[in-house]
């Protein structure tokens, strides 16, 4: 199994859920209205006066065969609407119960 952490502008929410479902991954854990900023540029999402937007974050664990497809789709989404902001990170899972 692979864990994927997706941090994104909260406007992406419905699209990401749809994207995961399309890739046969149902489960996820979401943090709502959280702040954050990237290291490679793009606008911070701090929910403050200066940076009014918020981030959401989703942590999902998916079967290995879907990982590439999910990451590809996410990348495609990000490049299509670069200004909104979306990042995803994945890592191997040793064990699960």
């Amino acid at each position: 199994m692979t864990g994927i952490f997706i941090a994104y502008n909260q406007a992406y929410y419905t699209e990401i859920i749809e994207l995961l479902e399309k890739n046969y991954s149902k489960g996820f854990t979401r943090w709502n209205e959280i702040s954050g900023r990237g290291s490679r540029g793009g606008e911070p999402h701090m929910g403050s006066h200066t940076w009014p937007t918020f981030n959401d974050a989703i942590l999902t664990f998916v079967e290995d065969e879907f990982v590439d497809s999910i990451l590809n789709d996410l990348h495609e989404l990000d490049t299509k609407t670069e200004e909104l902001g979306l990042r995803a990170f994945s890592w191997k899972i040793d064990k699960t119960i």
Binding site: A11, Y13, T14, E15, H49, T50, W51, K80, L84
Partner: protein
């Protein structure tokens, strides 16, 4: 779930909530009645006390003064004016507007209860009346007839007045000028004295002979019959054969000593309409009824009535009080419509998207009708104030929606799905939207707390705009995101015509913001020059406009009617007065083509005609009413026509006094009243006449009237008590006898068809024509001996002192000056003040300027206080929004330039600063800071994002130019129809429109440059200070 997500997720609920509001609003709108002004309620209580036989001076000392002393402690009393004249004391208590009149009446009654105990025994119990503007007649009608002229009184009474009185809301209907039937018994005094018969005995004999008496019932067999004596006169001729006495055992019939004339009353107010004699009906409404509805009801009824009238009786409307109201409200409706279209056009041009435009302008009708619900629920009307409030609000309601929509659109442009964008973008700007609404509420809610007349006026304005603001903000935060999520699209396709239309517009706007960016770039590096120029503009405007500044109270409205009263010297005969009235009528009809209907009356009003007898009337007084029709249909204003007539009357040597009024109550001509307080009659007369002479000869005044009448000539029958006593009679008996011979004795009535007519016995007219005739009147002593008046009395010509007027417990003479066209109140006051200073006024006398000037001073000081309060509140709201004391301080610099703009605007339009303009200034405080907020808010954001302050200010200015221009244009262009409107009643709101439009335009132009510069200056100073502190700390460490 947040409010925004809920509303986006539940479009049906949100839509239905607003549809419900709209339906309720439309429902209220349909049932809402219209009026010229908000309901002002009653504010005057009149106390009438009679003390028969007392002279004006006696009344003053014995009745008026004690009552004044005790009534003075009634709470909320503004002024107390009293008039003491022969037999009667009239005290008029003027209260602040908006008080509970019922409570005041109780208070007055309590005070009177205490005071009456101390009054002389013969004084009647004081009567209390409530009085208000609402008691003015709402309709004047003329009735003309040819064949039916003699029966006109009865026809009007039965067929017109009675059915009209049944119309809902109609109060009193008084008929004047209709010949009233009366049976005159004209006796010949010589014959009477020959037979030893008196007027009294004839009158009482007729009363005894003219009787129907039920005599009881009798049983005849099994039936009961009632017995009656029916000997009332069936005809006037029947009276001729009544035996009124005997002489040498021969019966003397009435026909032997008198003639009987079944005719009309001798003294009668004669009424002419468009030259034809007839009658006039004056219709008053019930206090709480609505003029427009009552008149509508009357007109409907009139259609039915006209059918039942004899064909020669014509009813015509002289003055219809509803026309002005309906026209005024209609012209305001047009203004609202135009404003709506202008705002819509601005939004469309700036956004370039029809979907966005629809979403934004939809909030206008929704918030407007929501405020109509308030009007309906609180029993208010659609009037000048409430409609102006709606017009003011139109330009402002779209602001919130624009901010929300712009942010949603920019999120969508970044790639967010409309639904998500709607939620998050709304959430982002919600705080600033709510804060900007709060600044508006800080302006408008305090308006609801003012008291007095201004309070009544602006309570509605305050509530309406506040409600509209709250509803429009709610719509902006729920309805707008919901509709955006449904209607806005990602990457909308644009049509070819769209490109053709909007490419140049966008280019122009981009060019504008680029150029503006350059200006700001220059300004932030030349801070001192910018501040200096701004200061120079401010000081120069103040220096140039303030010295020539004119002020006024309320603008006078062109109501299209004139009421003229002309007084000839007392004692002028009815024929002379009538002749002059006819001449004037013919002249004005010929010379003033604007006159649609001219009606005049003269003569003594009938005692039972309440309205006519309340007004000044007499054989020497002419009153005229002219209908000038709609303002749009004539070239000259009512004022100008009034001045033309005044000029004409001025040159007429036989006219002693005249008053040409241009309207009643609010919106009438502006007046300067000089009140001369002091006890001595001669001195106050001298001062009054000197001031009158001064004022009359200035161009500022077109008419000046002194309130105190002159001594009027009268004949006194001065009885010698001793001589009377020798003949066994007293003054009362003697004076009654004189009265019965001249005025007549009425002891019985002639009854016909259920109506009663006086049977009046008096000397025939030829026996009461001169002093000789009075001297030769025969009285009868206790032994029946005849005495001529000249044997027991002297008939002398004397002068009756005028009535004594007092105000606030001191004798007063009032000089009322009506301002000429083109002159403002302040100019009149200035001239008057000069004359007062020059006049020789003894120390015990005081001259005060009252009337409109006093009201103006009161309301200006109230509004000024309110201005200070509003500025503080607005600052507080902004400071808490920015969580800073400095930022709002910088933004507040827009306010002085709003005042600069107002001053320039008033100077350009040659207008006076009145209450309406003051209200405009109050509103401006809220509006002008909005631009500053939008700009500074973004500058702070850019600065926080890491730009240096100059770049931040330049970027913010360029970025925010569009929304600032857009909201400013919607408000300014929304005000233009108000400012330049020429429709019916437009004089009333022009000032408001001009103030807001000019104030906002000038303030925006200056603040667009000054505010960013000042902000940059303040922030760099703060940063330098911080930097120095940091260096210092480092050094210390």
């Amino acid at each position: 779930m947040s409010l925004y997500r809920t509303s986006v997720n539940k479009p049906v609920t949100v839509a239905l909530i607003f549809i419900t509001v709209a339906i309720l609003g439309v429902f209220s709108l349909m049932r809402l009645s219209t009026n010229l002004f908000p309901d002002m309620g009653e504010n005057t209580i009149i106390v009438v006390t009679s003390y028969s036989g007392a002279s004006a001076a006696d009344i003053e000392t014995n009745v008026t003064k004690p009552l004044e002393n005790s009534l003075n402690s009634v709470s909320n009393l503004k002024h107390m004016s009293t008039t003491s004249k022969e037999n009667i004391s009239v005290i008029s208590l003027e209260f602040e507007y908006g008080i509970d009149i019922a409570e005041a009446t109780n208070d007055v009654r309590d005070k009177l209860d205490i005071a009456t105990q101390a009054l002389p025994d013969a004084v009647s119990t004081p009567t209390i009346f409530k009085f208000s503007m609402e008691d003015m007649p709402i309709m004047l009608m003329s009735a003309t007839a040819e064949e039916s002229l003699n029966g006109l009184d009865k026809i009007l009474d039965d067929k017109v007045a009675t059915p009209l009185a049944r119309v809902n809301g109609v109060g009193t209907i008084s008929v004047s000028g209709a010949p009233k039937r009366e049976i005159q018994v004209y006796v010949d005094p010589d014959k009477l004295s020959a037979y030893g018969i008196t007027v009294e005995s004839i009158s009482s004999t007729l009363a005894y002979e003219n009787r129907n008496t039920p005599a009881g019932t009798i049983d005849i067999g099994s039936n009961t019959y009632s017995v009656r004596v029916e000997k009332e006169f069936k005809s006037a001729e029947e009276m001729l054969n009544v035996i009124v006495g005997s002489y040498n055992n021969a019966p003397i019939y009435l026909k032997d000593v008198a003639t009987v004339n079944d005719g009309e009353q001798e003294r009668l107010q004669k009424v002419f309409s468009n030259g034809q004699q007839g009658a006039m009906l004056t219709i008053q409404k019930q206090t709480d009824a609505n003029t427009v509805q009552v008149v509508k009801g009357i007109k409907k009824e009139l259609k039915k009535i006209q059918k039942d009238l004899p064909s020669d009786v014509q009813l015509n409307i002289i003055i219809d009080g509803s026309i002005n109201i309906i026209d005024t409200i209609n012209s305001l409706k047009d203004t609202i419509m135009i404003t709506f279209l202008v705002v819509m056009a601005v939004v469309f041009i700036f956004l370039g998207r029809w979907r966005a435009t629809v979403i934004i302008v939809l909030s206008i009708p929704i918030s407007l009708v929501a405020s109509v619900i308030y009007l309906f629920a609180t029993g208010n009307t659609l009037n000048i104030i409430s409609m102006s409030a709606l017009t003011i609000a139109i330009g402002m309601v779209v602001d919130d929606a624009i901010v929300v929509l712009e942010n949603i659109a920019s999120h969508i442009d970044k790639g967010a799905k409309p639904k998500e964008a709607a939620v998050h973008a709304t959430q982002e700007v919600s705080i600033s939207v709510i804060a900007s609404t709060l600044t508006m509420l800080a302006v408008f809610l305090p308006l609801t707390m003012v008291d007095g007349i201004i309070g009544i006026f602006f309570k509605q304005l305050g509530w309406i705009v506040s409600i509209i603001m709250i509803v429009s903000t709610s719509a902006a935060l729920t309805l707008v995101p919901m509709m955006c999520s449904k209607m806005l699209k990602q990457n909308p396709r644009s049509h070819r015509w769209h490109k053709i239309l909007f490419t140049p517009i966008n280019k122009a706007l981009d060019g504008l913001s680029k150029g503006y960016g350059h200006v700001i770039a220059w300004a932030v590096t030349h801070r001192k020059s910018v501040v200096f120029i701004a200061l120079a503009i401010f000081v120069a405007t103040i220096a140039l406009t303030i010295p020539n500044m004119k002020t006024e109270y309320l603008p006078s409205m062109d109501q299209g009617r004139l009421s003229i009263s002309i007084e000839l010297p007392v004692g002028t005969g009815e024929n002379v007065t009538g002749q002059l009235a006819k001449e004037l009528h013919d002249k004005y009809k010929a010379e003033i083509p604007e006159i649609k209907m001219l009606n005049y009356s003269y003569g003594v009003a009938d005692e039972d005609n309440a309205f006519a007898s309340m007004n000044n009337n007499g054989t020497h007084i002419i009153s005229m009413n002219a209908d000038l029709g709609r303002k749009s249909e004539r070239n000259r204003s009512t004022q100008q026509i009034a001045e033309y007539i005044r000029e004409d009357l001025k040159g007429n040597p036989i006219i002693k006094k005249y008053n040409v009024g241009t309207g009643m109550g609010m919106g009438g001509a502006a007046t300067v009243k000089l009140e001369i307080y002091g006890y001595d009659f001669t001195t106050s007369d001298r001062i009054a006449n000197a001031l009158r002479e001064d004022l009359v000869n200035t161009p500022q005044f077109s008419q000046v009237i002194v309130s105190r009448d002159e001594y009027t000539p009268e004949y006194y029958v001065d009885f010698d008590r001793e001589k009377l006593k020798l003949n066994g009679i007293d003054i009362t008996t003697a004076s009654t006898m004189v009265r019965n011979r001249i005025n007549g004795s009425v002891m019985t009535f002639f009854r016909e068809d259920g109506d009663e007519y006086n049977i009046r016995v008096r000397y025939a007219p030829e026996f009461r024509q001169g002093i000789d005739d009075i001297e030769n009147i025969i009285l009868y002593g206790s032994q029946g001996q005849s005495i001529r008046v000249k044997d027991v009395a002297k008939v002398v010509e004397g002068m009756t002192p005028p009535k004594i007027e007092r105000k606030d417990r001191e004798r007063v003479v009032t000089i009322t000056g009506i301002l000429a066209t083109g002159y403002a109140l302040s100019e009149g006051v200035e001239v008057a003040q000069e004359f007062i200073e020059k006049a020789e006024i003894p120390t015990e006398f005081m001259v005060k300027i009252g009337g409109d000037y006093e009201n103006q001073q009161d309301s200006f000081s109230g509004l000024f206080l309110l201005l200070v309060l509003i500025i503080i509140l607005v600052y507080v709201v902004m400071a808490s929004q920015f969580e800073s004391l400095l930022d709002p301080f910088v933004i507040m610099f827009s306010v002085p330039f709003a005042i600069t703009g107002v001053l320039i605007g008033l100077a350009v339009h040659d207008m006076a600063l009145g209450v309406m303009a003051m209200i405009g200034i109050l509103i401006l405080v809220g509006i002008v800071v909005k631009n500053g907020i939008v700009l500074i808010d973004y500058a702070i954001l850019c600065h926080d994002r890491g730009m240096d302050i100059n770049t931040a200010v330049i970027t913010a200015s360029r970025q925010r130019l569009r929304p600032i221009l857009m909201t400013t244009l919607t408000t300014v262009l929304g005000m233009v129809p108000m400012a330049i409107g020429t429709g019916e009643g437009a004089e009333m709101w022009n000032g408001l429109g001009i103030t807001v439009a000019w104030g906002l335009s000038i303030s925006t132009l200056i603040t667009l440059i000054l505010i960013p510069t000042l902000y940059a200056a303040f922030v760099s100073r703060r940063e330098r200070r911080h930097a120095r502190k940091a260096v210092k700390l480092n050094d210390e460490n």
